[in-house]
Symmetry: D2
Subunit: 337 residues, 4 copies
């Protein structure tokens, strides 16, 4: 009986002067705690890519100011993800950098009142120029002013923003997503500088961009029903909840689903406060959001460390997807993009 | 020089057999760590109420399933808050309970697979019947089917939902807000069961509720400019960010603001991951979201404990607002509700 | 089947203008998340007191500078605990305050370099005078110089310190413990200012206090075998581990135990890093440290808020212990105190 | 003025298929949040090694069961640290593995009652055989029985344990430390299975190992005064506090110190609860524990991930210490204190 529990000894990690990131992560799989979870996350992601899985990627937290823009871009370019759901802030910051502006190395040991006086916006240890942010706001408003006047899903609108970036030299998230036609959703677009820019456009220049938020819900539920799905959550918030709820929505709309089959989350939110951001995948199984036989893992750690490690390991392994999933949101859902 | 730092000794808290909650919280003000912050939060809230302050209240996390519905209802009834910004889930759960359904005492030490088989949805240590949730979904869809067909701000739509609850015996958040005409916003309404219900209504019965998300942004920026503002955040997420961004939006729209003047947050999110949920009010000052001379405090603790303590202390003190702030969103912003 | 999980609805907490702390905590028991755990902690503590239970109390974290000295003192005086295991710092700070010195209300928004220059020691938001600390160090060294020269368990030594405080007007933890003869252990006494004071005494004046650390281990294992035991942990660290290990040690020494029967911990340490401080009582059951049928609860929250609430609620209820547990460490273990 | 804050843009991390761990960590230095802190930690450690710095290493948490034994061993062998202060548990587990026993890959999704019945001890997601632990306890007791009967500092006692391991094939922490004569301290040795083993030895066989805990304090304060010092803390607890307090103790004993000059901590403990484990190095500066001009950084992350990354990066760089610090505690301090 005892033997059932004592089959595989942990193996102390041996330091090597010459080891690949993917090998180091593999070695962590024979350690414990979050190291083992990190190792398992790599395995689950690999498995998703090798199977014919549709991968949703939820992006919360100030990941672009933190330097993760090209990591997410790489995921899109390699088709290591199939659909992005993001906060508005990350997309605003992505545009900001893609059109040639910057976030800056800052500090937490600083007097914020002096920053205010210098018109510097702080994001933890990172600074930004408020005037540069306003310039990007204005740029977005100008673009939107030229967009066809109709009702948009956030995916449609973000696709137009992405295409508008084609003329810039720098690449980024929205631009690469528009290129490879990966859908990007932002369920709380109003809760961001993009929303602010559009509100100003309306109030000052009378040009109104209207959003069809129900179409986002319907489309993502449809996408979730195409085939087996996997989810990867960087932080929680709306992106996590929105992707989770596809499995709840789908049956309402007549689509057949049985819970996401693979699930990775990288978060520092813990379950004890009862919120969705910190909830476990086990809890999600009770709702049917995650399949009862899912491969699932939570890595409790800051994504700015974990995401580069995982994606570098995937890159080293030159993993190719079994096949790139082709889908057209135009035909199936009568949506032109 | 040393004396400047050593003016006020801490006073060991003395246990009394007969002490009011407000007195206990006052005593904590001479202790340290989160006890002192809790005490300070009470003082800041009191000050907001005694001054002519417009109070935004951001509600994230599964606070209604956790038993906080009538605490928030009380805040509305007493006009201890002037505007509510919430996640969709809390409002869905509020409707669920107001129409006579329940959340249930559950456990975290449970097999979620068995819960799934019994169609029980788990929220940490709390259970709900999936079928009862679906019934509430359907009820919301039926109501919405009868609503006038036009473009709604979330405030307008939630007001209609609130009025629809008048015929029920039980009181709650949306119902009491509709009664006293406190505006309720839900910037990510699509990211909730309410959004799911409306999507089904559209897909299955062709009835489409359309949302004007920019109106939410414009209105809240306008409200933030009416007079001095205070903010109270239960958790972070979209409600916190949306209220914070009013101070950024207002100048774009020609409204004059100078940062929220009072600020309380009750959260377990820490600043170290750089996200908006965990960011400090100091950081927010750099953005101008919080006034440079604001009274501000963060209580790092679970809101299910802190909110009842704070509101009970306010109740004991029978604090009356200096004057109830009157405002009509109809006239000022040409919005009919 | 479903019905098994849906027996007890949560009851939204109703705000009352006139409610006792104990009633408020009782109401939290029908809410969720940490509020429910807090309520349960009160119930478990009550049950311990009503049963014939030996209660170990582990005290970590800077609880005395935070104003908790008289809360712990009250627990000792009321015999709501039977044995205290503490960090050295809390006992040093207890002596500091009992002999008439202070900790001071400070701030976290401060330049520590200026504090250093002013010889102010900071403990998060609390200040202390380094010179006053040194004076207390010297006082302890002077007392110890007069103690009989022999080998002490930390309990014996701390009892002498407690008695030495009888001549002071102020009461505190060590003093009240010496009065009612509750044993106090400090397994890492060297890791504190008390240890520093004794080291200086030896190095400078050649007077050496020697410690018999094995006697601490043997005694606490013996105490754990006297009758059913309960444990209450404020934070983790050495106090928690030391009390937990009594159940492991006892069988080695021929004492019969079957795991602590009641268990409460108030902590912000989570299990995910694998350390003892954050480990769950379920994990402890695998070791036999906690009884398989124990009443146990973890409240994830700052003890500076939770401890005053729990102890005030106990005080309101005027709970009397079934009977005060009498034990003499002298006879049983040939230890004179 | 604004320009002062906007000198160095963050640089989005670029995913490369061929990158060394040290290069990846360098790239993280131009990102934000904990990635930047991780990068900075590597720089600070490198700087310590290149300068003539005495490096204290504090080890808390169940790092050996988690697979970190050979990482710490490597640090000792390479002389990347000069003095180890550990919890007793890590040293017990180190002996356990060095004499050929194991920890095992386990799970957190397990019934601990069944584990208890199978005599399996759980450490988060890792299992151990209780009988194997008892065997190691007995082995330690047997060894200690043969040690010379005198009063030991924990360093002296742990050195004897380390030498006793020379006859085993496997290498580990205590064995390698004994080989290269790096001092190892365990200020709370009684709070561990080693303490339990020695207590049993005394109670059952009348053989008593006595400890001179003041000698540990005196020696470490002396070591801290030898030259500039650096500290690296894996977790908090007694090891962190004990190393921090050397700077407070030294002046009492007549040694001149001016605060640790380099400081790294890898922890998930946050400052908000006021405890020593989570306190910042800024706070420590107010006490004089950390030099006012120290290079210091906290990485908020699980050490099971961070430690292998940092040490692999050091290994890749083949960093040599400027010179190995030679000191003999025997001669220098002749066990005289």
């Amino acid at each position: 009986m005892k033997e059932n529990y004592l089959k595989y000894p942990t193996e102390p990690l041996v330091i090597k002067e010459n080891i690949k990131v993917s090998e180091l992560l593999a070695a962590m799989g024979r350690c414990s705690f979050q190291a083992r979870n990190l190792s398992l996350a790599l395995k689950v992601w690999e498995k998703m890519l090798k199977e014919d899985t549709f991968i949703f990627f939820g992006l919360a937290g100030a990941m672009v100011p933190a330097g993760m823009r090209k990591v997410v871009m790489y995921l899109i370019q390699q088709r290591y993800i199939d659909c992005l759901v993001s906060t508005g802030a990350n997309l605003f910051h992505d545009i900001h950098e893609t059109i040639g502006k910057y976030h800056y190395i800052g500090s937490t040991e600083i007097d914020d009142i002096k920053l205010r006086q210098a018109r510097i916006d702080r994001i933890y240890d990172t600074f930004a120029s408020e005037d540069e942010f306003i310039a990007t706001d204005n740029t977005i408003a100008q673009w939107a002013e030229e967009f066809p006047k109709r009702n948009y899903s956030t995916r449609e609108f973000l696709y137009l923003l992405g295409k508008r970036l084609f003329s810039y030299q720098e690449d980024g998230i929205l631009k690469s997503a528009a290129k490879v036609k990966i859908p990007v959703y932002c369920p709380a677009l109003g809760d961001s500088s993009i929303g602010i820019a559009l509100t100003e456009l309306y109030q000052k220049r009378g040009v109104k961009i209207e959003f069809d938020i129900l179409k986002d819900i319907a489309e993502t539920a449809y996408l979730a029903s195409l085939k087996e799905t996997g989810v990867i959550y960087i932080g929680g918030g709306v992106p996590k909840n929105f992707i989770q709820q596809t499995e709840v929505t789908a049956p309402f709309l007549g689509y057949k689903v049985s819970g996401h089959k693979y699930a990775i989350q990288i978060t520092q939110d813990v379950p004890f406060w009862g919120g969705l951001s910190g909830c476990t995948f086990q809890e999600a199984q009770s709702w049917g959001k995650i399949a009862l036989d899912a491969d699932m893992v939570t890595v409790y750690a800051d994504a700015t460390i974990i995401l580069p490690l995982l994606v570098t390991a995937l890159a080293e392994k030159k993993i190719k997807r079994k096949k790139i999933i082709k889908f057209s949101l135009d035909e199936k859902l009568s949506v032109k993009i």
